[in-house]
Symmetry: C2
Subunit: 312 residues, 2 copies
Amino acid sequence: MHNMIIGGAGMLGQKLAAHLTGHTLTLVDLIQPPPTAGATCLAADLTDPATATALIARRPEVIFHLAAIVSGQAEADFAQGYSVNLDATRLLFEAIRLVSDYHPRVVFASSTAVFGAPFPDKIPDDFHATPRTSYGTQKAMAELLVSDYSRRGIFDGISLRLPTICIRPGLPNRAASGFFSNILREPLAGLPATLPVPDTIRHWFASPRAAVGFLRHAATMDLGLLGDRRALNMPGLSATVAEQIEALRAVAGQRAVDLIHRHPDPAIAGIVSTWPQDFDTARADALGFTAEDTFDQIIAVHLQDEARNVRT
Amino acid sequence: MHNMIIGGAGMLGQKLAAHLTGHTLTLVDLIQPPPTAGATCLAADLTDPATATALIARRPEVIFHLAAIVSGQAEADFAQGYSVNLDATRLLFEAIRLVSDYHPRVVFASSTAVFGAPFPDKIPDDFHATPRTSYGTQKAMAELLVSDYSRRGIFDGISLRLPTICIRPGLPNRAASGFFSNILREPLAGLPATLPVPDTIRHWFASPRAAVGFLRHAATMDLGLLGDRRALNMPGLSATVAEQIEALRAVAGQRAVDLIHRHPDPAIAGIVSTWPQDFDTARADALGFTAEDTFDQIIAVHLQDEARNVRT
């Protein structure tokens, strides 16, 4: 079995790669992915039409397409967002179409950003995709392509609408959602963190380990069970910031909680208030996708998986 | 006011043009639109990137984008469908974006084909778009662009999901939906027609006059009322084939009804069974869009508007 991860240098790509040893593995990213045991690592620009053709000539049986311009950047640079998130995705799909005897599995990393407020309290599986960002628009358009190319038998595809990944390892970043991870990861390492929103903010989470599990399950399950509706909301955990903080207190005590400094940022609070808060993922649940039930579990996953990265 | 109709040689484009006299009017189509009083008629291929730039240089205040590869053809020719229905649409939108001080009204003709079975009995305004044809996929993708370009202030756009237009004037065509018009138009002209589906089939209709009314209303209403959700199901009439036939009988008698010959075609019946049957269009209704309430009215519209075309 030959697996190819496009976006293989990213956080999820690297974690997924670590689970695919024993298979032929190709990691592709705009920057050369770090050396990975047994894997071929390639630097390639997917917006170059020749790139997809060359990658597809390797005939991977499973393609994980995780590469994207992130939300904030796609909003700041309209043309670049469409170029990478839509056009490069279509170039990849077209390269597959033009090889008539080749029909790989395609696992596409989509996002809950395909949804835009107003929302019901719990977003059902059949909620309409009305994105309110260019990033969400590009993901929704790519999802439509995944469904149509799959329906036509060009490839066997699925789009996974991933929750916000928490606890995201590494250094704090400037994504609007970054604080959800920062307020746990940094205090767990004895470092201060900033909370820009009220404790009452509710959001939708899954651990990096759960996200890797979604991708692996999507690579091997019978996608015929999805029919023509190939985009799927992934399971997760709906929790408030207050619930995150209580879970931190249970694990690391009041001393850790005291490292969270409240600096309200109306701009970030405004953005976050338009994001989904909770989902009913009956369809994904029935298909065998699973995530954490409590924030205690999410913190435990972080401590287990990132032990070597936890700064003390 | 300068109106531009892209797809101006088509049935709807021609009828719309007849209502826009008194304005500057430009009709554009792949074939030269027929001479129209006061209008500039241009033959142009929208899939050529230079075309949109040249059209936008004319700076129309309102652009009606009606041009499309129809459903059956988009399914038969994958590449052509995406080229015309998606890429040419995006070239048009990009040409607008690249003129920084130009923000026209864009009225995009979408379709109920953005929806795919299974359906509820009445499709609500927020039903999810999960098309089961490449045509529907392309229309759904273009709708997402209309919403995003509008949200970004590039243009002020709206997507109208049109019902099946009935009674379509002209000669019978080979569209799978053609019989819905054929079984009325032909007997009204004293000619035979073929019915390939059972009388119990239910579908969603509006007259050509109503469709022109949708387009004109969309060109002048306050689109800010739509918020970021710029795709709108248009009102129509849900009716069975039996109800169509009863309306024909009321107007033209049993002799006309006897001109309908039943030749069941399982292929067409199969296609039609996956189409929407009924909608609750509360949102469009509240915004002032109106259509017919009965098939008697739809037939009356045909007899009034097509008098010179009714073959006797």
